[in-house]
């Protein structure tokens, strides 16, 4: 009885991971891709995407759900890169310049303040806020750059004299972090510096959880009113969580774009949060609970699928587009499925926890009494 119950719990807990694993394993043979190719792709994509997904962790600890507002960080990172190109700061220095610009701190603060006004609806609010800030981003980049803010490099301007071009060539910073310390391991190339940066972030997250602020964040995440009555500054803690997440997202976007080598000025951030959220959910995280292994598993599983489905689509249905379709379909499907599963499970858990109060299953009461009696013996 309890065996089937715990199996059921395990299945609901990891339903998304299991389904994903099955689809991926089934798709690999039909893609006809070699394992070596897939492994190399995974190394590249882990370096490219992991940082962005790690940025989601802190808001989950703070009980604010999946931070769809990380798009604000991505836009900040892009503004940093535009300016780095403008001032012609190349290489790792260019990336450092973009990262230290500080727009993300301001953006994170805005996002945190807004989300504090929408407690309990952080995810949808963050999602909508990203659309709104996207409008402001476009206003600045499309009209004000070169018009209000002087732009030195005419190469990045539209031919009309103001506004940034649709596609920005990031040649001077292209893969500068990846190539900073590139290691050849047999037939694979490993961007060691990028992985070091990711490792440092992982260590930071683990360390952060041990700090007072990390403990406060967990307390706020579990129960805001209890934390508040214990004197934890709830609003401030939540804002800090979002600021850190936004700043990390801006770094993540910079790492992502330096790997890509060029940037779609007006679209590059569109699906940042969508893919990051899908990845962490595929890795077995939920709205309330996420770990570093969730991030790594999620990035690998999601991207294996992204690599193999176009080829599998080509081989099975004669069209690579069907793979592209699957990408969108599965990404959104995973998010919707995880959210529904989470809500369902939360309700189930609440019902289970109240079961002990019922007269019919009075087993819980003597158990509690026995435990109390044990205490009295001492």
């Amino acid at each position: 009885m309890s065996g089937t119950k715990s199996l059921g719990r395990f299945l609901t807990e990891y339903a998304v991971v299991i389904i994903f694993l099955l689809i991926t394993v089934a798709a690999i043979p039909s893609s006809g891709l070699s394992i070596q190719y897939i492994v190399q792709e995974m190394i590249t994509r882990l370096g490219r995407n992991t940082f962005l997904v790690l940025a989601l962790l802190l808001p989950i600890y703070a009980g604010m759900g999946l931070n769809f507002g990380m798009t604000l960080g991505a836009m900040s990172g892009q503004i940093g890169l535009i300016l780095a190109i403008n001032f012609n700061i190349g290489g790792v220095e260019g990336l450092a310049f973009a990262a230290l610009l500080g727009t993300a701190v301001f953006m994170g603060w805005i996002c945190g303040v807004v989300l504090n006004k929408a407690k309990g609806r952080e995810m949808v609010t963050g999602y909508m806020l990203a659309f709104f800030i996207n409008g402001i981003y476009q206003l600045i980049v499309l009209y004000m750059m070169g018009f209000v803010f002087p732009i030195r490099s005419s190469a990045i301007l539209l031919s009309r004299g103001y506004g940034i071009r649709n596609t920005l060539n990031l040649e001077i910073v292209r893969q500068s972090l990846d190539n900073f310390l590139m290691l050849r391991l047999g037939e694979y190339t490993v961007p060691v510096a990028t992985f070091l940066v990711i490792a440092v972030l992982c260590v930071f997250v683990v360390w952060f959880k041990k700090t007072k602020l990390g403990q406060d964040m967990r307390a706020v995440g579990h129960d805001m009113s209890v934390a508040d009555s214990a004197g934890v500054p709830v609003d401030r803690t939540r804002i800090i969580a979002i600021i850190i997440s936004t700043v990390l997202a801006s770094y993540g976007q910079i790492i992502f774009l330096q790997n890509m080598g060029n940037m779609a000025t007006y679209n590059a951030h569109d699906q940042t949060s969508f893919f990051a959220v899908a990845a962490i959910l595929v890795g077995g995280a939920s709205v309330k609970k996420a770990t570093i292994p969730n991030v790594l598993i999620g990035v690998i599983l999601l991207h294996v699928l992204f690599v193999v489905t176009p080829r599998a689509g080509q081989n099975l249905f004669g069209s690579a587009m069907i793979g592209e379709y699957f990408r969108q379909f599965i990404g959104y499907g995973v998010i919707a499925f995880s959210l529904v599963l989470y809500a369902w499970r939360a309700r189930k858990d609440a019902a289970w926890s109240r079961e002990g109060l019922r007269g019919s299953s009075s087993g819980a009461v003597p158990a509690a009494a026995a435990a109390g009696g044990e205490g009295s013996a001492k």
């Binding site: 967990r218 307390a219 129960d223 435990a371």
Partner: protein
Amino acid sequence: MGQQGPLLSIDHISKEFYGNVVLNDVSFELKAGEILGLVGENGAGKTTLMHILFGMPVIADTGGFKGRICIDGQEVSFSSPFDALDAGIGMVHQEFSLIPGFTTTENIVLNRESMKPSILNDVFGDRMSILDRQDMKKRAEAAIEKLGVKLDPDMLVSEMPVGHKQFTEIAREITRSKTRILVLDEPTAVLAESEAEVLLKALRKLASLGIAIIFISHRLHEVTEVADRVVVLRDGIAIKDTPVAGVSVRDIASWMVGRSVATERVSEGEAREFGPEILSVEHLWVDMPGETVRDVSFSVRKGEILGFGGLAGQGKLGIPNGIMGLFQAGGVVRLHGKDVPLNEPRTALEIGMAFVSEDRRGVGLLLDESLKWNIAFTAMQIQGKYLKTILGGLFRIRDEAEMRKLTEEYIAMLDVKCTSPSQKAKELSGGNQQKICLAKAFAVKPDLLFVSEPTRGIDVGAKKLVLDTIHRYNRDYGTTIVMVSSELEELRSICDRIAIVDEGKIAGILPPTAELPEFGLLMSGLGANGSQEDLSA
């Protein structure tokens, strides 16, 4: 400790909410190491008094209070609960304020964690310090030791039995080095008998360490067992302040419920004849948050008015809500000998039961709709009344004329003060809204009517009208009525039998003519066996 002045003195405190006096010139004192039992019915002012003591913002927001609070002879004024904590007052709430996903240790030292400085302190401040988990555990163990109970410092709160949660909460209050006064609001309400024993023992241990304790409980035998002194509040007045020695539970119960005004029975001396059993309930449980029903069995005979009384939160409201299918419920309910499927509100209405909810504005009324809509609504939805068919039965539309007639009938019968049947429900006063709720239930012509808290939030004059209406409806139509109310007096005025619900179970059923202390005893957690204990004591 020795002979010294009082640690805490409450000095002539009065408080009113919008002209409604809830505390009237209350004074008492508390010495170090003393346990004070504070008892009173719901609404007697216990909660308000504690809010004042803790400087809750709600007190200042509603115009402050009169009188003084002194600690060590110094007048204090708290603008927030944190000031009270700083002054050394700890509070253990009725609801647990623990974080379920945290361990015992983490909860005990919540926001007062031991810290080791880290390199980032200089830049980002103290919050970047690393937690010193070993020291935290040591402190938690010391507090548990002080309480004299056995708790696992590494256990998650979510996996604990309730008793351990209560101890964790107390341990948290006493780890504050300053805590000298501890307030416990119904700490034993959720505990099993044996757990409560342990708790009382722990309280005595704390008191012997010099901590003064205010112990609020409705379980009077616990008060007589543990307290040194008892203060009884009734209608905002400290009616009694006496050492516990020589005081019996029965004495306290009668001080608690005693009224100066004698009860007026509406139908004194009337011989009542009832029909066969109409409703039988066996082992009902209802999962209504805050009003959990654990195991309730009773039966009602046709034509009878059965009352359910008891203190708030004990589960009396869960009974009608569970039977009518509004909250998750289980057990066996039979109407006219036939099983009633639970958790299906529509079926409950269809088979001839009706419910006047305690949540008048939420469940009871369509606030933005007219009176005629409100009154005819249930009858229309459930029984298809007040509808006419057009186009050969293709559509059914509302029969406005019939609805108007019905509404006017009830407005006249119940003397509802309104401008017209088309007036919106939200524009009426509380008492008149309640009459509309009753009319809505009457309109379905139920065999069995549940009425929950019919006089809550309405003024004295309207209360009498509502009670008279229920009484008259029972006499005129022979409708069986089950009435739930927090006000014992109104149950005594119209019910044929009164069941007192305590901790999700029926503590006992009494005739309305029973002595007041009898009711008080049942509410105090002394059922049949409890009162025997009392006699032997």
